[in-house]
Amino acid sequence: MSASLLIDARSLVRRFGSFRAVDGVDLAVSAGEVVGFLGPNGAGKTTTMRMITGFLEPTSGRASLCGFDVGSDPLAAKRCLGYLPEGAPAYPDMRVDEFLRFVARARGLRGAQARSGIARGIDLLGLNSVRKQSIETLSKGYKRRVGFAQALLHDPPVLILDEPTDGLDPNQKHEVRSLIRTMGEQGGKAIVLSTHILEEVEAVCTRAVVIARGQTVFDGTPAELDAKAPDSVRQGRLDHVFRELTRSASVDKKEVLV
């Protein structure tokens, strides 16, 4: 691929006890790519993202961000990363603006840089009306938006978003999707987002990666994903393909159990 590989994960494996939650996943993403990370519940999406972002250590394999190894040069790798963890964790007792200020400082932004980063985050995610509200009093959707804003403050070249549109209303879903698309196309960022909404992949992603039981079962463009459905299927073509791809995996599992 191109020389601008911003995310490069090789044969990531993660075991919990004897259970392999992630079993040899490769993920290479270049600038300008928006990758939709799909898979049924428990497929290992969150675990993979946690290894790429350095929260979990892989059992084996390695990951690098912007060319910096996450294991051996974590600070440099994390400086070029914006990460929205699953469930958008934040400190409930902080106000939105305080929380964003804290993250900006932790990212090394100071003074005018910090102010403009925070203003950008508040503006892009429509948080102006809740700026002074404490996070515990926010609705689910606003909480998610705060988590997203936090990931954008420093305009990072790499964005990893775990279910960014979960819990958003249709208007906000639309806004956030176009925001992600623009950041990929014009911002030249490398973006990975996980989702359970297959239309989202068609709407914003340049590439789809499907995993099941910790293994990659598809890696290609959304059009290629769609093309895997037989012509006879008219409605819900992606759902059909998704079911085919991930069901074969679960059938295997049953056979093992029998």
């Binding site: 590989l5 990460y83 400082r105």
Partner: protein, 268 residues
Amino acid sequence: MSDEATPVSAAVAATVTPPGPLAGVVTVFRREFGAYFTTPVAAIFLVIFLVMAGVLTFNVGNLIDPRGQASLRVFFNWHPWMYLFLVPALSMRLWADEHRLGTLELLTTLPLTLRDLVVGKFLAAWAFAVLALALTFPVWLTISFLGDPDHGVILAGYFGSALLSGGLLAVGCAVSAASRSQVVAFVLAVAVSFFMLLTGWAPVQAFFQSWMPQAGVEALASVSFLTHFRHSFLRGVVDLRNLVFFCTVIAAGLWITGVLLRAKRQGR
């Protein structure tokens, strides 16, 4: 896929001014210290601490000791037992809450080192404890008004008390890092602190003495927070050995905290 992953954004990453060596610690410290004041914990802690310090000093023990010498000895004598419950109340939320809220994931994926996190949080809690201690200054004023105390001894007492709270806090940090629940972190920290204090308490030592060789009793006493607190600072002596003892305890507590957190990342 090619192997040449060039660090394109070495430039991008460099646009952010590289922070000084203490910037991370300061950032964490500010958030944690502020967090004590956004919850009722701060107010409750300060009130209990000040009321207890006052009541215990003026009622339970007599400020003017039998020899007619004005000193704050009685006041400081109560500190270990006040800290036993109050310090774990400060340390319990430090890490247990991060685990429970999932914010540990956010913290550890920010460009902060584990050292920044561990030291920053500890210092914030310690600064809060020292603030509470400093607010007992009216006791000092009162005794100065009533009699003619040795101010050097009182200063040494305050210094020792601050060190003692630091040692207990470091224990509490490590316990909190191992737990998801604040309640569990609190109870465990009280239990461990109780043990660390008790081994130097006279009645307990007498019990040990009845069946243990003298060397064993002395070894136990030598790791007791109580011994180190009472036998030097309360006599107005700032002994280097006691200073080193508490610094070692703090360093060990923070080191264990780091080890526990790293173990969590590796999935126990």
